[in-house]
């Protein structure tokens, strides 16, 4: 299998994002089919990205030219669609939640286990965030000793009025649940959710913010603030407190480590670390533009002008004096 042919079920906001991602940003994958209850929406996405629309999600899952599936459908249809994926032996990336309750989720786990092959990945994408991944590596290295406590903060600018207290647990806090399980590599055995007097900027009866305490089997704890009507913006932070220091992410500054009397961030050793993303974007955009027969970056003139300035710079380096840059007349040359 040299190229993975992907079908996507559900092309609302998240699913349309994934469709774009598979079609245009992912190497070694091709988007072949999308499905959505809103048939027109599916057609539109399919047309734009060179895939076909399939009305019935189960038909998409079964399609011979679909090697693997992304489920971006609502949680309450996940169970049925996951069972279909298992039945057809299709690898599936399932947006959270796996299913709507623990009991049905357990049946999915058991069905997959019976099959003897792991086909299901759940969309807890934070594990792939470079900051979370760096935090995990740091904690696992043991450099800071055993991790004792997490302080997590999860804030949205606002949510729709339909977003009730229960959804704050199910749709937002669930990410913190996975983060705690993953970072501690342990199960949560007890949870307490407490609610201070709510913000006035929320519908009647919605308990926002919420404070939760997770207790893990090994004795570690995590406290969590979830505040989905914070007004300011989207903010996710995690501070891990360990025996010999702490490490915080989500400040937009990589991992901030408190250790050895210093609060600090790492300076990369190498330009490839600092500019890796720039190179990736440069090459992707060069490929995209070239396929379109266009140029989308610094031109030969930019290369020439830089060379001319550097030549003058070398003369100034030798003399210590200002040197005029003798640039050719651009319009004479390029018209």
């Amino acid at each position: 299998m040299s190229e993975l042919r992907v079908g996507i079920v559900g092309v609302g906001v998240m699913g349309a994002d994934h469709a774009e991602r598979v079609a245009r940003k992912t190497s070694g994958a091709r988007l072949v089919a999308v499905s959505d209850p809103d048939g027109e929406r599916a057609e539109r996405v399919a047309a734009r990205l060179g895939a076909r629309a399939i009305g019935d999600p189960l038909e998409l899952i079964a399609a011979a030219d679909v090697d693997a599936v992304i489920l971006a459908s609502p949680g309450f249809v996940h169970a049925e669609q996951l069972f279909a994926c298992l039945e057809h032996g299709k690898p599936v990336l399932c947006e959270k939640p796996l299913t709507m309750d623990a009991e049905s989720a357990l049946r999915v786990v058991e069905a997959e286990h019976k099959l003897g092959r792991q086909l299901i990945q759940v969309g807890f994408m934070r594990r792939f965030d470079p900051e979370y991944a760096a935090l995990k590596r740091l904690l696992d290295s043991g450099e800071l000793g055993r991790t004792l406590v997490l302080h997590n903060v999860h804030r949205n600018k606002t949510v729709p009025a339909t977003f009730r207290s229960e959804m704050i647990v199910r749709d937002s806090m669930v990410h913190e649940v996975d983060v705690a399980r993953w970072l501690f590599d342990d199960e949560i055995t007890r949870i307490t959710v407490r609610t201070p007097k709510p913000t006035g900027l929320v519908g009647e009866g919605v308990l926002d913010p919420q404070l939760a305490l997770f207790e893990l089997a090994g004795g570690a704890m995590a406290d969590v603030e979830v505040f989905v009507n914070f007004q300011v913006g989207y903010e996710v932070r995690c501070e891990a407190v360990a025996e010999r220091g702490s490490a915080t992410i989500g400040l937009g500054t990589g991992v901030v480590t408190r250790a050895g009397a210093t609060c600090g961030t790492a300076i990369p050793a190498d330009f490839r670390v600092r500019f890796e993303q720039a190179y990736d974007i440069e090459v992707q955009r060069w490929v995209d533009a070239t396929v379109r027969g266009e140029l989308d970056g610094p031109t030969a003139w930019d290369g020439y002008a830089a060379a001319a300035v550097c030549e003058a710079g070398l003369e100034s380096l030798a003399t210590g004096q200002p040197v005029e840059v003798a640039l050719a007349d651009r319009s004479a040359i390029l018209g």
Copy 2:
């Protein structure tokens, strides 16, 4: 042209990176050929990435199945290779420098112009760095008024002893030259390079650090520190000072803006902005693992455990009391 077939000339550190990038991280591109004076190295890279090695770079450029070329060869062979690309009408992404001096660079510009098609892009990759791009957008928005001055800092941890004073200008400062031209959208008309007493941690006779002043046609200025034996790490910073504030990048925190009595960074409005990279990586790694027949992310059990904790959380939300999480016996189920 649905997929761009790319050939790479030069697979040293930079070129090998690009080969990997084209083969494994870029959507819509395929690596078909590589060339290198070190034939064995070329063979190794080619074998690993499913391409073929071609001894003669000009042959690679001419090859019928090479749609486009990346030049990661030494600067002194660029001119010849660029002319070959122009001759064969091949789009080319040329690592800086374009050529070794202004005179030959100008001939390249003229030859491309004569051809009537822009085929050459120069590898000033900073323009694609998300921080630089955000800075450019901010300055171009006019929000801070006209930009007056840039303060740029460019530091490497160390460089080899062969990296002489002139290379500091040609290979390092050249990036700052492009940044100044690009951010001001103007030409540099005068340059002064001054050298303080050098660091002792450098070979005899190497003038490091260097301070440069760029003066632009429109009257703006940029001062630059280049220090390639800084010992600490790789650090590139740029502060743009405008009429109504300043903006700094390279602190690892996105754009730090000083405006309206505040020094601040932006908080994203949306989780997709904050976690876009996480989603990209998640999907790319899911595709890669799936092609290998593996799973490389949160499992169905993780989905189940999160559901079980959330169920307990909902009960705690309702009662305010701690609630035990009743998790199935993992080993009984998964063996």
Copy 3:
């Protein structure tokens, strides 16, 4: 009363600090007497600071030339000493705790109330910290809406082995208790203290760190981490989460505010704000040195040299050229 004559009871670490502070850093006060169970220590401090040592603390409190008292004695003698202060009508600054338990503290409150004059101030010094004071002003301004939640962190590098779990509550968490009461201007009505599995870097049986939840009469909440063997250093943080933003102190950066899509710190409008402390220190050190017949700051030569450089600078400003600074021969003039 033009100058306050102060007596200090207890000149251990904290009391000796206060003695120095009153004698040398406080305007309008004079240290007249100190007392300590360790008589030699009292003599030493008294001799160094021009005060006299008094063996019996109650005698110090009663002394005619002591206008006001600072209690830096152990908590278990506070009650008796506070009653003595009330009896003699002496204003007293009492280091926390007021007394060892709520019952005796209440008797002190009642006794002071019966007297009809407020004489007792408790040493919750954080209320005077510029960062806390700025946070309080911001929250009270209502700019961020109603304050909903505090997240507080209180960490010590290490504490002696004698510092048991109870002292973590009494001596460390007590500061967070006052901070929460003060910032919310409300009483705490309920407290929960939970202990994760302790750090291994602490004596057997000591529960460190501790997580506490304070619930206030008005429905607000504060969660607190106290960790007195953090190994890294002393760190106290407070994040106040309000309806329209949050504000954090203790990062060593003043108040960090998240509001209006920005995470930022204030830039002072004026040099007097930025350098107020510098001016205070300058003048205090000039006074101290002058009294000793010495000079402890920039000299007339420094003033001359600056003038000479500025003169050259003005010439350069006019010409745009480098200008040599013609400085007189220092050794010829000053020998």
Copy 4:
């Protein structure tokens, strides 16, 4: 001399600040006299601070009960007043500039030298700023190797229209001159001032911002941006680049050090370091309030309430359960 009796010449903004500082914030000093060309202003300040006004500044300098003088008068009268101080053997703290030009400044230096006693201190107050002082200590420690370059930034929000290009050098850049001389402990031998196209938010003909390059006798260099109409606020920064790292101040975060692959700030080892200023302010305000017969801090009730919460906390620590805080009825007790 147990208490220094200070006279102040000039009680405009700066001088009035100093008068307040000497009278109310400085230990061991007393303000006895002030002088100002605006006699009413002098009377007002004198009356408020318990000093007397003297019309003639030279009379103030000569007054028998004036032990030492602060000159906050305009620069062009400094020379005459400094000579008077020397004549009467009075120590003097002279706001910068020492005098208006290098020639007259040199005569002051010579006159003081002839006297055989150092009486003159110049008001370069940055040397007393805790951040600058910490930077100086770090550089002098040699920990980062030899210092190679300074990057200084000096910005004001705005200045009056009367603040011309020359004043930017004389009144603003002069601070950077002293900082460079002091940090390098060396003389500046050459200066270049360059002016980019000025901001539009400044009067016709004013060259703002300005970029200066200082070259020091030992070969080090400092570049400086002075921008006195920055619109944002007052900002002074200094980055020292040394052989093994750099250190920056003026970010409002203490010294930010780049060394050993980390960009970091120091975490204090001790609460006294973190809260020293809080203790100073606490005691100063307690003294001030006590002299007025008032209380200006946490009350006995605050001490009682904290004790009650801690008692409940100890119970919760023992049980792990929430504990209600049984607080006495405040109004019943305090009325």
